[in-house]
């Protein structure tokens, strides 16, 4: 959803889950790209393929006034040790993934028969560890599932709320 920057408070969970899933999709994309290029020796624009790394950062989600013309519902409040009922609203934090290019010279491997071997017979390979990428992939899939479950739960809760009005 090209969610409006300010989401209806009702839909904050949807937005959070959506952002989480998008972030995990990007992570999987990076892992897939790294795995696909694990043996690449020629990169566009020269040099070697540089490993993709994904970092996550928080994004503020600002609750907008409710579109039903009423004042927005109060935000959930977190308890602090000093004041067990803190009155400061704690807004939810979304997530955003950024893909970074790893620095590095690559790994030199002795393969004199390789067409891209240098004068000494070494080939520069990207610094991609297939094992690590596989773990990243699994983790991304599981995290995606977790976000999807959070979304489904929120949806079920809303459906249950709507059922209250029946009959």
């Amino acid at each position: 959803v090209r969610f409006r920057e300010k989401a209806m408070p009702l839909l904050t969970v949807f937005q959070l889950s959506s952002q989480g899933m998008t972030a995990q999709r990007e992570r999987l994309e990076a892992a897939a790209s790294n795995l696909a290029n694990a043996n690449t020796t020629r990169a566009t624009g020269g040099g070697i393929y540089r490993r993709r790394d994904v970092v996550f950062e928080t994004v503020a989600i600002e609750p907008a006034p409710s579109s039903f013309g009423l004042s927005g519902s109060p935000l959930p409040q977190l308890a602090t040790p000093e004041d067990s009922w803190s009155s400061t609203p704690v807004p939810s934090q979304g997530v955003r993934a950024t893909t970074l290019l790893a620095e590095g010279e690559g790994i030199k491997r002795y393969e004199p028969q390789h067409p891209d071997a240098d004068a000494q017979g070494y080939v520069t390979m990207p610094e991609v560890d297939p094992l690590e990428e596989t773990v990243n992939m699994l983790s991304a899939a599981r995290s995606f599932e977790a976000n999807a479950t959070a979304f489904s739960t929120a949806k079920e809760m809303m459906r249950a709320s709507l059922k209250l009005g029946e009959g």
Partner: protein
């Protein structure tokens, strides 16, 4: 013997005009004082506009997904679910309003 034409009946007055005239001045003043957002009409309009917005967003997302522009399938589905839930909410509100209206209309005067 002649029968009066139907046209001779007084024409129907617009409802708004009638209520306006029959209401005491104080009540109309109070009604005008309340802002559009607080009025019942404003509330309904806001709800319908919000519903319309979610439906249009879902439409846009589907168009993007079908055109292959959106890399995130889940966003399309979430837009659809959002539109559906908003519609269900609006439907519930509408059902309640109609129910209350019918209840009032059934009252013996």
């Amino acid at each position: 013997m002649s029968i009066n034409g139907i046209n001779s009946l007084p024409p129907l007055q617009p409802l708004a005009e009638v209520t306006h005239r029959s209401l005491p001045d104080q009540a109309t003043g109070a009604a005008e004082a309340s802002s559009a957002a607080d009025s019942f009409g404003g509330l309904v309009r806001g709800a319908v506009e919000a519903l319309d917005r979610t439906q249009r967003e879902a439409e846009q997302e589907i168009a993007r997904a079908v055109a292959g522009e959106s890399p995130d399938l889940h966003r399309t589905i979430i837009a659809l679910q959002t539109a559906d839930l908003s519609f269900q909410l609006a439907l519930q509100v509408r059902n309640k309003l109609i129910g209350a209206y019918e209840e009032i209309m059934r009252m013996q005067v």
